[in-house]
Symmetry: D2
């Protein structure tokens, strides 16, 4: 295609010092090096109420859900760094997915912000397993809403020791692997959107 | 044991007309028939912000998270009817678990409201699969926080047609199976708490 | 690319009258219509011992494992119709994967028959859930060995009534959906292999 | 109850030097200390063909499947050390489950060797994740066939360095945790079978 692959990147955590907010940065760099245009957002800037079908019926989607959906529509794929809470994804990320999978209007094709998108996922966690169980759930959830998920993923265990004071991964091999995920996503989108 | 098994029951959905709020009632009846003392709550009455580690650090647990933890401590087990959103549990239920698994104080034994508890789970869903994929995730999450989950579970598909105007399951076999889950949970708790 | 997409297709069941052997045929037709060259095999023709590390060390890979690996190397992707046994994939399919993921020689790049391949999966099952839990495991296993799995999948429930005497799906919508999976796989491979 | 809890223990691997065969021993010791009668078997002694519905229909269950079913019927619970192959359980263990879940005769209550049994699971693996993904699948499979699985489990990563020359876990904390799993299983069975 003529235009660059457009990727929306975010961490599934709200808190300021989140390891996953650091992690996503490395993947963003990789995607940019591969020629992608990347929009990195902080989900803290899009606060949502906990999903409640009655709110939806009475008031429609919250403004921030609409803003997130708009961002998703405008991009070809997603880079997601997902913290593991209780062996699954965060309530914050699940809630964001629950809202953005709802139709903006009755005319919106169901799941239109997710269908035919491509995603790459990763996780940093203080535990020894690096968030692998959260990624199992996230992968499953995304594919169920018709987003293609790259097989290559990366988990960073003992996250409290993994980043330097500037937020970069200390381990260079890990840093390259995460960058490579962004890179692969950009290339994959480029291939799928061209032809 | 001398005292009755105490069970906390709730649906993982907030909205008023939730199928899972109807479903949980049948299981509650079964548990009561087996001699359990059951507290049925509506999670709508315990609104929580989306979990954010910064809120926790600055303000501690929200009052409703503390109320929920107190309820959990006072009961031996849980009956949970869990809607399936996007092939997993609801953001609402995940968020409730994320908050209640946090320590009330530094002295609280980590996961103390969940350890050695016993749970039984079920699901009603408008789709043809009845929420089975949500239960796979829920089971996995609960066991990872050391709650024993009964193998017997029940899914109700096509939930929009499954209940009569009084909220009872029309299909009597299904109704008995759901009641039986409450029954089994009460008996299991009784066995584990006695000796 | 100049050459056609090459797809290896098989069911994860050994028995003659397998519903999944019927199901795979519809997907194969779809892939062919989209221009793919499809090799449909019956895994019964490649009997393997149950994987045993000692056999591998003493005798290397069995001849049939080598034949299967060769077939995999020669194709760009896989169409798999997977029966559900005990809420997971069949022992037969797992065993086939266990053998073909082993290195033919020390020089073989680990997982080389799976890396960068693309797969599409489907399931037919006599139960009401159509094998959805088996597909959850299969998807997870394939992606872990670096095979990209299309989000679109199809489950056929009550399989004993789903096929006519010639082995075709009676329900035309279902037949088209399964055909469409083969079609999508061929197109995806074409996009990824070109450029 | 008057009689001791009876536990069947095995590793899900066939090869002689299997880490999981070493691991299971520690759990067996724990179960014995808690008063259980434990039968430790090597699944290598019960070779089975890969499950094929045609073999079953024509010849019934293989002799070794019948022997395994008999062992399962005679015991109250299972201790299983499960290797992880390709992010799931071994083909060998899946195949064993596939055969033993089939009915010995038309009169056998379906799944009778698994219903109301109690299991505890663990895993040793050369990788950094210790086999956690295999345990996720195993837990799910066992519960789906109505076996209660203890929430407490243990994974041993870097298994090639974890055992001493006599096959004992070098790390004493890990050794105690594994022993404790056997212990907990014996106690749980005792509680559930008494009353």
């Amino acid at each position: 295609m003529n235009r660059k692959p457009k990727i929306l990147a975010f961490a599934g955590s709200i808190r300021e010092g989140s390891y996953n907010k650091k992690l996503i940065q490395a993947a963003v760099n990789g995607a940019k090096k591969a020629g992608a245009e990347v929009t990195l957002i902080d989900i803290k800037d899009y606060p949502l109420p906990v999903y409640d079908g009655d709110i939806e019926e009475q008031q429609g989607l919250p403004e921030n859900a609409m803003k997130l959906k708009k961002l998703m529509w405008e991009h070809d794929g997603f880079l997601i760094a997902s913290p593991e809470y209780n062996s699954s994804i965060s309530g914050a990320l699940k809630n964001l997915i629950d809202w953005t999978t709802r139709q903006a209007t009755k005319d919106e094709v169901y799941l239109s912000c997710y269908i035919d998108k491509v995603a790459a996922i990763m996780s940093a966690s203080p535990g020894g397993l690096g968030g692998i169980r959260g990624l199992v759930h996230l992968r499953s959830i995304l594919e169920n809403i018709y987003t293609l998920v790259l097989p290559t993923q990366k988990t960073i265990s003992n996250a409290q020791e993994a980043f330097d004071s500037e937020g970069n991964l200390k381990n260079e091999t890990h840093a390259k692997e995460v960058e490579n995920i962004g890179n692969k996503l950009a290339i994959m989108i480029d291939k799928l959107k061209s032809s």
